[in-house]
Point group: C2
Chain length 222, copies 2
DNA sequence: CCAAAAGTGTTATTGATACACCCATGC
DNA sequence: GCATGGGTGTATCAATAACACTTTTGG
């Protein structure tokens, strides 16, 4: 409890965010270009130091809001990275979160802050600062795993959506085509969806029924 | 990066450990009695501050070794808790790990250190210090979930074991009886096991074949 | 009438569940 | 010979996978 003990570490604590969206049949991740050393000029996951009185999740939400303007997206703690040498200067422990945002909710493709931000293909990212490539890979794996057994994919869709849109989200995440009939059967059998009653007749083809997600499942331990 | 900014937090960083074993058909967790304030005299999860140059996992392993003498047990990061008020004195962020130890490996039921340590039934714990009841509940849920789809239960068994022992581990974790024939069929079909060739003829009944676990699966994202 | 996506069922295969008796040993 | 746990197979049911054509709209 006494911080003056020489052997104890008082690391900096940051929160980093792996922010996904699906756009143009691609899983994309938001990156920011670092203005300062270390790794000045390189792309990195958005993040920041924990503020006084702020919970970890609040910090993650703050970062998300600063970079995208979005507040109420799906957010989940991912993992905590704390290797002694992961920051070349001070010891930094970072609690990482991953978040899902529907592409349609992003008013601006970039940021409302001065710093440079941009979307990249998540599975083929550039060389990132720190251990951020590792963190990103970890997040992609988690997303894929959860897509298999949870309703997490709904975080990437707007309120009302077509079943085909939903299917495409799954196909992009899992990187494999799915059978249309089996997909619809299974997804409707889960009871996660209801028809909104509205239809989307915007395309040059047969109009589609719109569905919405009923409610998030209770969070498991995971 | 500059710690003098008034709004940044420099929380203490600890590692806490949820150490499980299965003994006497019970899922048990290791607790230590706190010697100091806050919560002096109350039971708590074993843990400690991060030391200089020590990775998070090393810290967890150190705590485990200090309390049990065991080094090479299954260890996995669980979750990071950092609510601003979770420690009544300083702001503390704790990275929690959960570990599995075969009962047979525990030479001493308690500790080799002075502090008082003891095993408790994990699903009916006493009132714990800090937010440790919540952490323990989280760990139990994770363990149950992983028992359903992973080979994690092997962390609770010695090198060589009978299928009945293995089944009992699952039954204790999942809190439900399993059908013997179906269990054996499924578990052998996974390919996780081989017969050691040895048999256990120690009981007053028909001798049992001994099996061992082949290799740990590749770690997923969890 | 052509292009484009929406919508819809059946069969085969696979995996999960339910269920009861004989075997080998120690005492 | 009795108590104790070890060991084995089959039939049913549920879930998953494979597979192709018709419908409705806009242009």
């Amino acid at each position: 409890m006494n911080n003056t003990y020489y052997a104890y570490e008082m690391p900096g604590v940051t929160v980093d965010l792996v922010l996904f969206t699906v756009n143009q049949d691609q899983l994309q991740v938001l990156l920011t270009r670092r203005a300062e050393e270390p790794f000045a000029g390189q792309w990195a996951l958005p993040g920041g130091f924990l503020l006084k009185g702020e919970s970890l999740e609040d910090a993650a939400r703050r970062v998300m809001h600063d970079k995208t303007g979005v507040v109420d997206a799906y957010l989940e703690q991912l993992y905590t990275f704390g290797e002694p040498d992961r920051d070349p200067r001070n010891r930094i422990v970072t609690i990482t979160y991953f978040a899902l945002i529907p592409w349609q909710k992003l008013s601006r493709p970039g940021s409302r802050k001065v710093s440079e931000v941009s979307w990249f293909e998540a599975v083929r990212p550039p060389n990132l600062a720190f251990d951020h490539n590792r963190i990103l890979g970890y997040a992609v794996n988690r997303l894929r795993a959860k897509a298999g057994y949870s309703n997490i994919a709904f975080g990437l869709l707007p309120e009302a959506f077509r079943l085909t849109e939903l299917q495409r989200i799954y196909e992009v995440i899992l990187e494999q085509p799915l059978d249309k009939r089996n997909f619809r059967k299974r997804i409707l059998a889960t009871g996660w969806l209801t028809e909104t009653g509205a239809i989307d007749d915007s395309g040059a083809h047969r109009p589609a029924r719109l569905y919405r997600f009923i409610k998030r499942d209770v969070e498991f331990s995971d």
